[in-house]
Symmetry: C2
Subunit: 330 residues, 2 copies
């Protein structure tokens, strides 16, 4: 298996990406192709004594910044690491593409360069989120398409179920429709129509879910339009991060509070770990014809390695084929 990795994407590129890629190659026995500025990759590896010998490097002269317009990937920066990586994947050289770079560019590029699975209306951006039940759930779509039609939500549900079952090993994944209340009649026309489609589909649909139920692991796949999903993603992560930060400050305030921290250190670490997105590695772009995976923008080597492992499992479980079949069944 050959996984193409964007060496230039994310806050800690290229050093942490290269590190994580090398660790993944050694641990998982796979080939890695790095995409990015070859001179930079080679010099950073040399400076940090990272052995990248035997690793293919495909040169890409440009980088798309995190806050850049998503469609730069198409015309403005055709030689960006994301565009080159996705083209390489599309042309058949590798099995999957992993990037910690611009999410929007990955969604647009994944859709238009790598192309969609036959029948998929719109690929969805699908972060894997930790919850306090000790597991995780997929949120789809978290921003690839701000607006959605009911059939898109159905496809998100089918694709999300296939991923959670085959990659995250969740038996009979529970699908919830993000809404403003749990009763069937809640929401707008999109939710009403999607509810009916989801009820009739060959999935484990559990009905409407609310933001307040997500931290408790109420379901395994949450479907919604990209606007709602993006709001959930950022509010959920942001609130958790703010409280964790508050707790950290509290425990480092005085000698007394540091002693308290020492007493509960293991439990605290366990809690932080449970809610740490770095453990989960990122977000697949669901619906592209070949696996495209977004690692968290702040990824360090460990997260990159995790993302590559998940992508390897995404390829091995043949999720693309599972999705193709699920879409045919409807």
């Amino acid at each position: 298996m050959n996984i193409i990795v964007d060496a230039m994407g994310g806050d800690n590129a290229p050093l942490e990406i290269i590190k994580g890629a090398v660790e993944a190659r050694n641990e998982y026995n796979i080939d890695i192709t790095l995409v990015g500025r070859e001179d930079v990759i080679k010099s950073v590896a040399a400076e940090n004594a990272i052995d990248i010998s035997g690793m293919e490097i495909i040169n890409a002269s440009e980088v798309i910044a995190t806050d850049e317009e998503a469609d730069s990937v198409l015309k403005k920066k055709p030689d960006s690491s994301i565009a080159v990586g996705l083209r390489t994947l599309s042309e058949g050289t590798g099995d999957a593409f992993v990037s910690a770079g611009n999410s929007g560019a990955l969604c647009v590029g994944g859709t238009l360069i790598t192309k969609r699975i036959k029948g998929v209306k719109r690929p969805g951006f699908a972060p894997i989120m930790p919850h306090f039940g000790g597991g995780c759930f997929m949120l789809i779509d978290a921003g690839a398409n701000l607006e959605a039609r009911p059939e898109m939500l159905l496809q998100y549900a089918l694709m999300g179920s296939a991923y959670m079952k085959n990659v995250m090993k969740v038996d009979n994944p529970r699908v919830g429709l993000a809404n403003v209340g749990t009763e069937k009649h809640k929401g707008l026309e999109l939710q009403h129509k999607a509810y009916e489609l989801l009820e009739d589909a060959d999935i484990n649909f559990i009905g409407n879910v609310e933001g307040r139920d997500l931290p408790y692991g109420c379901c395994d796949v949450v479907v919604c339009d990209g606007f709602i999903g993006n709001v959930i993603l950022k509010t959920y992560e942001g609130t958790a991060k703010a409280i964790m930060g508050k707790i950290k400050t509290l425990f480092s305030k005085s000698a007394k509070s540091k002693l308290a921290a020492a007493l509960v250190m293991n439990d605290l670490k366990e809690m932080v770990k449970e809610f740490d997105y770095h453990e989960y590695g990122g977000a697949p772009i669901m619906g592209t014809a070949k696996p495209v995976f977004k690692a968290h923008g702040s990824s360090k080597a460990k997260t990159v390695k995790n993302a590559i492992r998940l992508t390897k499992e995404y390829v091995e479980a043949d999720v693309i084929n599972e999705i193709t079949n699920a879409l045919k069944r409807g």
Copy 2:
């Protein structure tokens, strides 16, 4: 001043409502009119030795449950405590109405029974939310109208600014537009058009805000359509509650963790208090012709008292008049 209080609304009615109302009457030197089943109110007060002598009670034979359809307030349950309370207010007997009952019924009833301020398109449900900067912000609309037009968002901003300035004593309240990114071009047509209206309005508009900025107190008024607002409200409160619960469990796990808790108890209490919605009391329904205030559904006496205090200030600051003038200025 005479504040009408729904004795039957919320999880802890009528006991905690009656308690809070009596405390508020004694502390703030105001009149309270209780609305609800007179026999129940009198017997609960007597059983709990609460002195309600001299307090007017208006009988209302029905109660709208929390999960009931919002429009029950109009035809199905015309003798519910919410309908009777709002009618009493509308007919001129009291200065404001406070209820911990069904939010939807309060919004619908507030709009159609109490009527709107002249010029207001749609009243908004506007919870006051705590943040970790040590203050609070108003989220408007959190569900009164799932869909919104740009002019509605402008009105929410004008009404929210008037409330935060005059009741919450925030100098020059900062208004943010909830969106999927901070850049001006982000979002859909609603956000694009609202952004332009907000830029031109006589308010302190700071641009787009994201869910991840809210816990840090990025602004004082967050405007959005009711679907987005409801999702933010529930995700924000739910995530905070889940983590607080987790911390509580962690600290009561063993003798060692209980000792740790004792060491940081004051700071922990401070943190919990900072994020406690009971401190803020609830949500005004902004845009009704007379003040209508929703206390949190799980309100205990203290929260009810707080809600009544905020409502008293809502009346005293003449926010209705401020809003009328702000709408004229545009």
